[in-house]
């Protein structure tokens, strides 16, 4: 059904359609509307056989989800930013225990300085936790990915995190096609857990594993994760057939077939990037784009295939590894390590800074002309930075710092 609806509410509706059995709620912007909506649905009886638990922290949210999932209940929670970091130990634990929890991450910057606006630093902080990480480009895709996430998580016994740009998607109202309940019931069958805590067949879950088997445990986790690269396109095709929309696969190529310059990004910024691509194509620049919707596991082969015509790749990232550089860029560079391709990083949109089409356009033109530096901070306020460096040279305690910065 087509609805004009806020992103958060659309996600809540999609989650409800998947019939979660335990929903754990702890507020943090920009995720809060999702769990508020689910709370109301449970309270008014619109969601059968669902326990809505108002927990005392995000650590408790993920832990309640772990306990519920271990007894075979479909479990869901949502968080962002500081909340994700607060639960990080349990995030790793859910993956290690192979529990198919689904979580929405309304991507938000991490403090200090505290900042409630969008970027991808939170998702990157749990990149290696053993969760499947899917990034939505639009609210429609966010809905579709949530339905896919439950089926995927339970098929593989791996937790899935659906990343949705905070505010940009969660708080924007647009038209979304919500699937019918009978369709979702077909796509997301009842949860049949791999291993379950059952008094009539008692098992011990969460034993201590030493050096003799730890590597093997991790190796098997890697195999299971990589399996997702086959399962995701299958589920996406099947779902797409059911609701007559294009599939939410591993990647989204856009006018990239013969492009020599390809821009890679994740999430909602792809909309702006595609506009700029169209614009530059019209002026004769041989440019295309590639959206990564499955970040973990990383679809190396698909990325290689789609970037085969590229001689230059610009990765637009809403996060970076302080002291090094782009995070997605590193994965892209690894995927292309046997090719003569120049990979640039454009760090953009940190802490919610708008990413203007004009700014991207200028950077892509530079890239096409071969003048783009290896790493650029989009729309950096040079004047502010200069002023601060100037101040620091007069402040004895930070003088050496300022000097080093300038030297680099």
């Amino acid at each position: 059904m087509q609805r004009q609806i806020e992103g958060s509410l659309a996600i809540a509706e999609a989650v409800a359609l998947c019939r979660p059995q335990v929903v754990c709620a702890y507020p943090i912007s920009p995720q809060t509307h999702i769990i508020e909506a689910l709370g109301a649905m449970v309270k008014e009886g619109a969601l059968d056989n669902c326990e809505f638990v108002n927990v005392d922290s995000e650590m408790a949210a993920m832990s309640v989800a772990i306990g519920a999932s271990a007894v075979g209940a479909r479990s869901y929670t949502a968080t962002a930013s500081q909340g994700l970091l607060y639960m990080i130990e349990a995030v790793y634990n859910a993956a290690g225990l192979g529990l198919p929890v689904v979580m929405t991450l309304a991507n938000r910057a991490i403090g200090a300085p505290i900042n409630i606006w969008n970027d991808h630093t939170d998702a990157m902080a749990v990149r290696d936790a053993g969760w499947i990480q899917l990034f939505a480009e639009t609210n429609q895709e966010a809905v579709d990915l949530h339905v896919l996430a439950f089926a995927l998580a339970e098929e593989l016994s791996v937790p899935v995190m659906v990343c949705v740009d905070g505010f940009i998607l969660t708080h924007s109202i647009e038209r979304v096609d919500l699937p019918d309940q009978d369709v979702v019931d077909r796509l997301v069958p009842p949860f049949a857990p791999r291993q379950v805590l059952d008094p009539n067949d008692p098992v011990s879950i969460g034993a201590m594993v030493g050096p003799e088997a730890f590597t093997e445990v991790r190796y098997l986790a890697q195999l299971r994760m990589r399996r997702a690269l086959e399962v995701i396109p299958e589920l996406a095709e099947r779902n797409a057939d059911a609701w007559h929309r294009p599939p939410t696969g591993l990647i989204h190529p856009y006018r990239s077939i013969d492009a020599t310059l390809i821009v890679v990004a994740m999430g909602s910024v792809l909309g702006t990037i595609k506009d700029v691509v169209d614009d530059l194509r019209a002026t004769g620049v041989n440019i295309g784009a590639l959206g990564i919707s499955c970040f973990r596991p990383f679809p190396v082969n698909e990325v290689r295939e789609q970037l085969r015509s590229a001689t230059r790749v610009v990765v637009v990232e809403k996060a970076f590894s302080i002291g090094n550089g782009g995070v997605l860029s590193t994965d892209i560079a690894m995927a292309l390590r046997d090719r003569r391709v120049t990979v640039h990083t454009v760090v953009a949109g940190l802490g919610g800074r708008p990413i203007w089409a004009a700014s991207l356009r200028a950077l892509f033109v530079n890239a096409a002309e071969g003048t783009l530096p290896a790493t650029v901070f989009c729309d950096l306020n040079e004047e502010l930075v200069e002023r601060e460096l100037e101040r620091m040279t007069h402040d004895r305690s930070s003088r050496s710092l300022a000097r080093r910065d300038r030297a680099e």
Partner: protein
């Protein structure tokens, strides 16, 4: 003569060790029983004389009896978890889940919620952990579970320190006790006084249906408290004092004697409370001076000289005063002038 199907019941003549002496034969705690769940079975790697292993074995078997085996157990990180489940072995014969150090109470909430949502709430939930996982790092989760009145019995096995990591201070370590992080050096050796948490009283402040304390010296009392707890719904809390030979510097054979002394001195009050009100306490049968409890423990060795004479009378007096306050607070010597 004992047939194969006859339970062997504790009864130690001339001692109060197991607390069976005053109950009729058929109600006495069984040491071995062919029908016993053996939730924590033999072969685990606890130190000899580990109070925590003993406490967990009796508490969980009592819970298994009370629930006819329909039980799921959640365990926080700590000695109990480590000594029972070195991969690929497990000592647990109960459905058992270990997640993390801080989150046992929350995981148990999730188990209970999951069971309810899937229509299996005849299965009951026990969460258990050490004093660190209860009073310190897990306290927020525990308090949240209490406040929501989730249908979980949480059992704390209090050995008064972070034993699994090598005997560091926790917020239940008593004043003056030596640990690896409160060493017996300097002008005030051992742990500071006036800090720490009394988790049973904090649990009572949440006004949950049931709070009780017990020791491994009185297994009958421990079992009946677990049974009482399992007969109720909502959040319940049981705090069990479990001496730790390694951390306390005591002999393996003295675990039960020390647990008994902790009670008989008033240092560890044994009581029950419902909805925030104390409903019963176990009186002292042989009121004993605290120094008798302290002297056998190496963690208090700095309070005594080699001959066992008290060298820090002010510190011992301070501990005695705390014990006397417990005796008054919980009416542990009924005829004493209140």
């Amino acid at each position: 003569m004992l047939s194969e199907r006859t339970p062997v019941r504790f009864y130690q003549v001339g001692s109060f060790a197991v607390g069976n002496r005053l109950v009729e034969l058929e109600r006495r705690s069984a040491q071995s029983d062919p029908r016993r769940a053996n939730s924590l079975s033999s072969g685990h790697r606890a130190c000899a004389g580990c109070g925590e292993a003993l406490g967990a074995r009796y508490a969980l078997d009592a819970a298994m009896r009370a629930t006819r085996g329909q039980l799921i157990c959640v365990n926080s990180t700590g000695c109990l978890e480590v000594f029972s489940t070195p991969y690929p072995e497990t000592s647990w014969r109960v459905a058992w889940l270990h997640s993390l150090f801080a989150n046992a109470a929350s995981v148990a909430t999730g188990v209970a919620a999951g069971l309810r949502a899937t229509g299996r709430d005849v299965v009951r939930v026990v969460a258990q952990g050490g004093d660190g996982g209860t009073a310190d790092i897990g306290f927020g989760a525990l308090s949240g579970m209490f406040e929501r009145n989730d249908d979980v019995l949480f059992i704390c096995y209090d050995n008064q320190g972070y034993m699994n990591t090598g005997v560091q201070r926790s917020s239940t370590t008593p004043g003056a006790a030596r640990t690896a992080t409160t060493q017996a050096v300097g002008p005030q050796p051992g742990n500071a006084f006036g800090q720490g948490k009394d988790v049973a009283r904090l649990a009572m402040a949440h006004e949950i249906p049931y709070v009780a304390t017990a020791t491994v010296a009185d297994l009958f009392d421990l079992e009946s408290k677990v049974e009482r707890a399992m007969s109720l719904h909502g959040a319940r809390y049981l705090h069990v004092l479990v001496p730790c030979p390694l951390g306390w510097g005591t002999l393996s054979k003295d675990t039960i004697a020390l647990a008994r002394l902790a009670h008989e001195t008033g240092i560890f009050p044994v009581f029950e409370a419902e909805y925030g009100e104390v409903t019963s306490s176990v009186p002292l049968r042989h009121r004993t001076a605290v120094e008798e409890y302290l002297r056998p423990q190496k963690r208090f060795a700095h309070l005594f000289d080699k001959s066992g004479a008290v060298t820090s009378p002010d510190v011992v007096a301070r501990i005695q005063a705390l014990a006397d306050r417990n005796i008054r607070r919980y009416s542990l010597v009924p005829d004493e002038d209140q």
